[in-house]
């Protein structure tokens, strides 16, 4: 893994892409990394395209700009492929991860000839099987950890369990579903 990994998230307002980016920074911190997780704020409304970013580094991060040449891109909603240039600046040695129920071949035309790895996951399916409701950021978080290798997946699950137990202290019943979604996503991403 390079000394610094940069990840760009594309989602729609309300899908939790910003939360996922912040959670990834949070969990990467637990493995001893320097992290930066931040959203790019635009008009705040449900369904509008939003962008969020992560920097995960072995050394101190001082730069405070957006990410233009990410190592990885996460697309939380495949309808964004029509309107957003998701592979812009994406490094060919990296990868793009798309949440879609479609086969990979159907999304390739939207990726502008991207030469790197293309990965997909049906986050809705993962959510429905594990949580019974659709929160795509949970499986996408696990999937990008797997794809990017920013941390060991076992460590990731362990840290997420602690983090979610804290976050859902008042709703402990949702913990198991979230953990199941994370675990299933690790195997479902392809």
């Amino acid at each position: 893994m390079a000394a610094q990994t940069e990840i760009r998230w594309h989602g729609r307002g309300g899908q939790g892409a910003k939360t996922a980016a912040l959670l990834l920074a949070d969990v990467a911190f637990m493995t001893g990394k320097h992290v930066q997780g931040f959203p790019e704020y635009g008009p705040e409304r449900m369904g509008a395209p939003i962008t969020a970013y992560d920097r995960i580094s072995d050394t101190e991060i001082r730069v405070h700009s957006n990410i233009y040449e990410p190592d990885y891109v996460v697309v939380v909603d495949d309808t964004l492929l029509h309107s957003v240039d998701v592979t812009k600046g994406l490094k060919p040695e990296g990868a793009i991860l798309v949440n879609t129920e479609k086969p990979k071949e159907e999304i390739l035309p939207y990726l502008k000839g991207y030469r790197g790895r293309v990965c997909t996951i049906d986050a809705r399916e993962v959510c429905m099987r594990t949580m019974g409701s659709y929160f795509p950021n949970t499986p996408m978080l696990a999937a990008i950890v797997k794809i990017s290798g920013v941390m060991d997946t076992e460590v990731f699950l362990k840290e997420m369990e602690a983090s979610l137990a804290h976050k859902f202290a008042k709703k402990p019943e949702v913990l198991a579903g979230n953990m199941a979604a994370l675990s299933l996503a690790l195997t479902e991403v392809r």
Binding site: L22, A25, D26, F29, H34, V35, Q36, G37, F38, P39, Y41, E60, I61, R62, V63, H64, S65, N66, Y68
Partner: protein, 393 residues
């Protein structure tokens, strides 16, 4: 023992407030304010601190209530941003002229229009002549550290002035980054108990606060206020020295980054300085003598010290995240250029306006600024009165 963790700039400020546990916090708790009042009010609701939270109906009321609380003798905190600070305007001046040691966290965001609340310094820069001390941060760590130092400065017997603790909206306020937090006990010891000298709730010493002053007295009061601002310079440095003892982190009026032999320097405020440091390092590897002055304290303005730090440079770019509409540049540009003139520091200067309404600044943009400085110094290239960085044409 310091705790290494990660949090946003807003959380960092709220964490400092939890450790300081001020007496009163009046605040307007929704947009245009930030998560800071939300976090602090949650701590209050959870019984972690004893601060009295006063939810108010507007920012004007927030500052008015802060003035009332401060005059009563309470250690008082409030937080705002953007249009919220603008709405406080009238009473922001009253807080300073009444010589109340209030502390206000300002998350720097633009003023409309076009309607936009992204990072910009126009809110607090607009208040630069209101009589408040202003301290700016590069990142969440500095926002936290500055907040812990604020009350010691504000409440000092030689100062008695309110302090704004500023950080860049969204860029640091909403970004999660690594941070090192101090334990509660050393922070409490460092900040100390507030013992106001004259206050309304002191039944043994009836005082009037905020009375009318005829022309015969008003100018003397203003001069006394200005003198306090000048005296605060020593206090700011003394407090920073004490803070270094408990934290290991050194602060001054500004940070001079790789300035010892610098020929080309940038002077700027806030989060862009981290980006500029990366540019400086890249250029230094190529043998370019680049340096950075990160202005931390803008009020009082350390003009002499800044000018001295720039002496010997061939060219200096002074960067403002704020448009003054003077036709000649921004506030840092105007004040620093004047200070350099008085100190007879004769480097070529250019005042660059950048990052308005959150316009992003990359390391490459900063490298271009240094390249322009070189062409100014070596090829005699001249720029427009004050260029905009990254402007779309």
């Amino acid at each position: 023992m310091a705790v290494r963790t990660r949090m946003s700039g807003n959380e960092a400020v709220a964490h400092a407030i939890r450790q300081i546990d001020p007496d009163v916090m009046p605040a307007f708790p929704i947009t245009p304010s930030t998560e800071i009042p939300q976090y602090v009010s949650t701590m209050i609701a959870n019984g972690e601190i004893e601060t009295e939270f006063i939810p108010v109906e507007s920012e004007h009321s927030a500052m008015s209530a802060a003035i009332g609380a401060g005059a009563a003798g309470a250690r008082t905190f409030t937080a705002t941003s953007s249009a919220g600070l603008a709405l406080m305007w009238e009473v922001v001046y009253v807080a300073a002229s009444t010589r109340l040691p209030l502390v206000m966290a300002v998350v720097n965001r633009g003023l409309t229009g076009p309607l936009n609340i992204n990072a910009e310094h126009s809110d607090s820069m607009g208040a630069r002549d209101s009589g408040w001390i202003q301290i700016y941060a590069e990142n969440n760590q500095e926002a936290y550290d500055n907040m812990i130092q604020a009350y010691r400065i504000a409440e000092h017997a030689d100062v008695h002035l309110p302090v704004m603790i500023c950080q860049d909206g969204f860029i640091t306020s909403h970004a999660v980054e690594n941070i090192s937090l101090l334990d509660d006990a050393p922070v409490k010891k460092f900040v100390g108990e507030y013992q106001p000298e004259h206050f309304l709730l002191n039944e043994k010493e009836p005082v009037a606060v905020g009375p009318y002053a005829v022309s015969n007295y008003c100018m003397e009061a203003k001069k006394a206020q200005a003198e306090a601002m000048i005296r605060s310079k020593k206090v700011i440095l003394d407090v920073a020295r004490d803070f270094e003892e408990i934290s290991g982190r050194a602060y001054g009026f500004f940070e001079a980054y790789r300035m010892d032999d610098a020929e080309y320097a940038v002077a700027a405020i806030g989060s862009v300085c981290g980006t500029a440091k990366d540019a400086v390092d890249r250029l230094r590897e190529k043998g370019v003598k680049a340096g950075l002055i990160k202005v931390r304290v803008f009020r009082p303005f350390p003009g002499e010290e800044l000018a001295e730090a720039l002496r010997g440079c061939k060219a200096v770019a002074i960067m403002d995240r704020c448009e003054s509409y003077s036709g000649e540049g921004g506030p840092l540009g105007a004040e620093l250029t004047a200070a350099m003139y008085r100190a007879k520091v004769t480097a070529e200067t250019v005042n660059i306006v950048y990052g308005l309404s959150g316009r992003d600044v990359r390391v490459e943009d900063m490298e271009q600024v240094y390249a322009d400085l070189r062409s100014m110094a070596e090829e005699g290239k001249r720029f427009a009165q004050y260029p905009y960085l990254g402007l779309r044409e």
